[in-house]
Amino acid sequence: MAQAVKKGDTLPQGLEVTRRPLGRQRLDGVDLPTDEMVLNMGPAHPATHGTVHIKLTLDGEKIRQADVNVGYLHRGFEKEAEAHTWAEIFPYTDRLNYVSPMLNNIGYALAVEKLLGISAPKRAQWLCMIVGELARLADHLTCMAAQVMEVGAFTPYFYVIKCREWIWDLLEAISGARLTHSYVRVGGVAADMPENFDKQTIDIIDRITKVIDEFDALMTRNRIFMDRMMHIAVISGEDAINYGWTGPCLRGSGVDYDIRKVHPYLAYDEVDFEVPIGINGDNMDRYLVRLEEMRQSIHIIHQCFAKMPEGPVAVDNPRVMLPPKREAYNSIEGMINHFKLVVDGIEVPAGESYSYTEAGNGELGFYLVSDGSGRPVKCRVRPPCFMQMTAMGDILRDHLLADIIPTFDTLNMIGGECDR
């Protein structure tokens, strides 16, 4: 089970745990008496990607209090899901974490499969891992691009955003759309990978590796960047767990918890990868964890192509998967099957299930309740970044105004997911 690194633990590379307590004074010395100023940051602030409102009480530039208000992008996903069949919900999941829609697709499909008690064929699972890790790459690339951009370094942003474009080219080739893929299905995927997809992917992830190295060289050891990121917005592993954090942000605080490792789904137990963790729980560690996770994702994708078996990409179950088009066109059985699945939806047995996957920001959970009809009675999403936003006000206290945005970026709030 996950265990937080504690102060005094010996760690490799001669590092020590130097965590400082939550909410420590950033500015030393005697403060002059001043009036506090209330500053409303957002919901239309240019740097808060994703509409979020932070009500700041400032003492000069120092943050006395930061109240984070989310919910400006509430679209009623959970309620909307109740009016659609299980299969029609996929386009909606694309818009949860819109930086890595594939991971949402996968999370939702696995949740329904869990409720159905089926699992996708092996090849579909490996395909899901490939597109999922590509989406994770896109997610982390975007997050890190935004981080460096918000501390003022604009150029690396374009280098990594270019990589994200390459990934979207790939995902478009396999799914048909760059961003709103809707590629995964209950019981498999919509289609097998196109010709040469493996070669293109390997080519592109190799290029991405080079760009990540360049990015690393450009930013990580830059004194200004280090000053901006290190020991900012520190949170201990215990606190992070108490806040319900998951994903790279939790691992940045030294908790070795990755759902792909501790509760492997798909075929993650058959691939070899390492879980990066930080020590200090500050912005820098969250940045470094993401940086390393991208390299691990690339490593996973290489293994996936090597190990992926041949075979069908969707279950052969007429009550779950649409029949092949040739049968729908040519036989009455196929046509009836097609009709009933489209109109009535998959008749998922009555029951409830909670399924969780490691998405870009952490544990993406779907709690589904079915009453046996073709649509969910309840489709609740556990958005990872929502938990992180709850802690943001606390970890920002007594920091400076300029620390808000980089912290906001390392916590990686995605409006579509957080507000649903």
């Binding site: 046509m335 009836i336 099957n337």
Partner: protein
Amino acid sequence: MTMKAQPSKAQPSETQPELVEIAVDGETFSVPKGKNLLEALLDVGEDVSYFCYHPRLSIVAKCRQCLVGLGDGHKLVPACQMTVQEGMKVRSKTEQVREARQAILEFTLLNHPLDCVICDKAGECTLQRQYMDWDGEASLVNHDKVSKPKKVDLGPDIVLDAERCILCDRCVRFMAEVAKAPQLLFAKRGDHTEVSCAPGEQLDHPYALNVADICPVGALTDKSFRFQSRVWDLWSTRTVCQGCAAGCDMELHHKDGDVYRQVPPKRWDLNLNWMCNDGRRTYRQLLEKERVTHPSLGGERTDPDTATTHIAEALQGLIGAEGSPIGVVLGADVSNEDAYAGARIAQVLGARLYLGDRPDDGKGDDILRLNDPNPNRAGVRAMANKDLLNTKALAEALNDGALKALLVVGDGLDLPAPAQRKLNALDLVVLSTPFSSALIKKASVVLPAAAWTEIDGTCTNAAGEVKRMRPAFEPPSHARPHWDWLVRLGVALDADLGFLDAEGAFSEMSANIETFAGASWGDTIPTQRLRFSGRRG
């Protein structure tokens, strides 16, 4: 007359039937002796597929879909043809039974055309449902489908697609046994058999539309519903037919404020599972008649408050005047709540109450339809049993000039032409109606009312059953239920009618009016989308 608490479901018979024990897949159940095995299996919750069986029709066992194993015998038998006997051992869940039903389905689908895309039954088709439940496999047979006539015009209401027919015989039996007019029969032989009208006949019986309902596939379809909407796009509201005094339960299928069809509920016990053609077409009046949508004062459009204030001011001098010069007409088409509100207003005004009804149309038969076309005559009558004057009395009062003001609630008033002309002489004629009619020109104030598809309330049928009507959609523009207008009028007259919604009116009514004592407001059955309303077909 006594009012029965609704609904009267299958009433417990006088003598308890003798029970026998049967074993279904090893589990023992007690079922009434002599009962059909298929019904008994359905009663105990066994999932049995069938096409040709219908509880209101005779047993023919044509489809062979309800095969079960009996005893230790290898051979399977159709359950619908067996009656339960003591100690019967039924196999219903075995692999043999499943395979047999799957094989029968494959056989049934053999000549079925690929018509789901254009078939009006798709979505509520029994064949589709059974295929998904029992088969789900591709056909093993390579065989050209038999070609039969498509789009055969059987009569004014029904069109036949012979290819889709699975020869279950339900329609033929219905015409012969229920309608007692054997207009349908099977022609040709073997796999060329097809349903056809009897020579020289066409399918024009007043109950002919029921064959479209009981057809398990889309072979017989309703012409007026043909290609109008897919079934699963519609929304369903359980309400009461307003075609005649029989007050049949029915489902209103509608979409975006338009009614597409009216069908009997899928329950064997409610109005025999049938509906007459006329009843199914009741919704046509919504399309054919012009709706009143805004209150008007002397022909000019006005706002609701002005209208009610104007009425109150005009009536002020007449209240309690000598010889009660105010008349309140309760149309026999309004709901009980509307009628109760009308009766209360009449009480406040000291007015005479009249019943506005239409004469018998003589279309009654011995199945469902009654001669009386007024859907709520019994309910309105109950409001003021003895004091309620009829239309004839109203005409007389008008001729005598005894009335100075008249309040007409509902569209049910059928006044003879001479009496109608007399209306011009009145100080005030208030008309609360959903539809535009000849009377509207005589009215000084017109209040737009909600039509029967838009109201929540109850009505009482000729048998005295109080039945619940439910709103399918919102009334247009300013239209609102009659009782709402009357409550507003009460406010304008400084009189509290004692309720502010339909349910309040109903509880007032059941407390104050003896005949409604013990009547229940009825279950809440929400309007639901047919797409997700459970397993159809």
